[in-house]
Amino acid sequence: MYGLINKAVEGLVRSKFGDAAWDKIRTRAGLPDEPFISMEQYDDKTTYDLVGAASAELGAPAEAILEEFGLYWVKYTGEAGYGELMKSAGRTLPEFLKNLDQMHTRIKLSFPQLAPPSFRVSDETPSSLKLHYYSKRPGLAPLVVGLLRGLADRFEVDVTTRTERVEGAQPHDLFYVTWKPRATAGTAG
């Protein structure tokens, strides 16, 4: 994976648990004390080791760490240099999800070794859709749950998701996504 992902993991740990926690996790993962380079390709193992170390240090299951990372990733890419791309990828949740695959394809221009997951939208209604998630990397479905939560915050909607594993010729994870406008704080009167 590219360093951008590992930088985001570092950012998540530092912002939520502090610099000391990051030092412990980095040490446990056997990584040197040096910054990740966004455009540099790292072995996938580095990211998996970081998630494992974070899980051990923070006493949380890896799934929870991944979900938290998904939530953070939306915020991180929106703030850390990819905000315009995020903004240009859609003005609504379903629009964004439909453009997600195309955005990844375009980004491969900058990250030629990128092996991004693939997203496909089907069965779209005004308040729901099915999101098909295809990835060669195992066990990352919880990350997508976090991503959907992050996008819900971004587009200010309340989202509910249900996950289902689809086997067959093209095994993938299927997310039943429904949303409704986020209720704003009511005023008395």
Binding site: P35, G81, L85, S88, A89, I107, S110
Partner: protein, 561 residues
Amino acid sequence: MTHASDSSGSHDAHLVRALFPFCVAISDGMRIELAGGRWASYDASVRAGAGFHDVFEIDRPTGLSTAADIAARADDVFILTLKSRPAFKLRGQFVARGSSGALLFVGGPWITQISEIAALGLELHDFPPHDPRGDYLVLLQTQGTTLAETRDLNARLRKTSAALEARTREMEREMKLRAELEAQLRQSQKMEAIGRLAGGIAHDFNNILMAVQGYVALSLSRVTPTDPVRAWIEEIRKAADRAANLTRQLLAFGRQQVLRPQSLDLAHEMREFEKLLRPMLGERIRLSVATEGDLGFAWADASAINQIVMNLAVNARDAMPHGGDLEIRLRVRKDIPTQTLREAGFIELSVRDSGTGMDDATKARAFEPFFTTKEPGKGSGLGLAQVYGLVEQCGGVIELDTELGKGSTFRVLLPRNESREAPAAQVAAPSAQGGRGERLLLVEDEPLVRKLLEQLLSRAGYQITAASDPVEALAIVQSGMAFDVVVTDVVMPSMTGPELAQKIEGACGPVPTVFMSGHTEDEFIRSGALRSHQRFMTKPFVPSELLVQVRELIGSRSHAI
């Protein structure tokens, strides 16, 4: 000129509108005949039937108005401004649609910054996949992000470099300090070792000198004033006195000189001492003595202070062979870091001369015994060594500030007496007197000295019982013999003189005792912690001094065992 098929046909029109969402087909009369697929949602004023110049302005090339004008520049890059939204510009080219004079503008939003996409209300998918501008925008985003990351890395690098530089400076300071401390430790260990050696030599010399001086005194009492041998014996006495003086200096350097510290008014001492110094320094040296503020009292041995100042003054005088200034100053210092912090601080006694000064190599060895830069025969090399030992023994510190050609300043820091106790009154020394048959136990392991003292004390009228070691002496006491006074050496093989005195006292009660030593290793004697019926004498001493001490003890006490 580039030609395109007529795009007004429905199939082709659909194709063109899909491929170029921001295209515009115009007639030879400059009226819009077809608008790209995105115009309807982006700006409905761009529609079929609208006048081209009503909705667009041609920025570049300039001065074109008719379709023919434009067709003539069809190979050029065109930039159009949307009049309803001047920030929105299109970049592209015009192509002729057949030979009718109709034109097709093919292009897309002209964007140079990724941030303009959102600002213009556009989205990434407004750039069809065949349009490289979409990719260009992604690259722009990555470029901006990479630039920001590079800046961030640079900032971290600068921070790390600054921290490293600070740490390096800190380490250099620590290493320098460590080197200085190690040098101090080495110097201290060297001086300690030399001091022990010097003390040991002085001890043996003192016993020999004791015998020489003693027998000289006995011989002088037997020869008549006119006897020609008397002059030779006098020469022996002078030589022995010089040798005794040297051993005293060695003992002082070895911090083994017996000191009797007391509350001392240093300002008064210096005023008195100044009278002695002036004649010694000569007329070519201008001496000044100054005191800053209220010094209080020092806790020191008066004779040691005199020896210190005398040695420093002699050293200064010799450094100014053609005359100069010698300044002695006294002031209170409270800025001296010590392991045992003294509330009262120190009194600084500085001796500054305007003489030749020292180079670094000489400064490093200045306090070593027998090290001298003076001509052979002019100096023993023991003066500053003695100062060093005395200052240390007084619980003080000596600092030397010197530079070749710029004179030297010695700063002696002496502990200040915290109780501000008044100086002790001087007691007049009694004169020597003989005995009246009093019983005296003499304990001395050195046969030469024992034999001398036995003869001396017998001749003075005492009944002498001599023992060659403390065990024999103790046996004599325990056999029931009674003594009026004990005269004992301090350093002996089986037990020390003070230990012997303690055992005698345990068996028979307090007994007047005179301790003698040329090598006082016992701390209680060096620190002056003697009891009222005890005295201490430094070897070598002249016989009359011992007789005075013995007489005084017998006279002031009526104890007998």
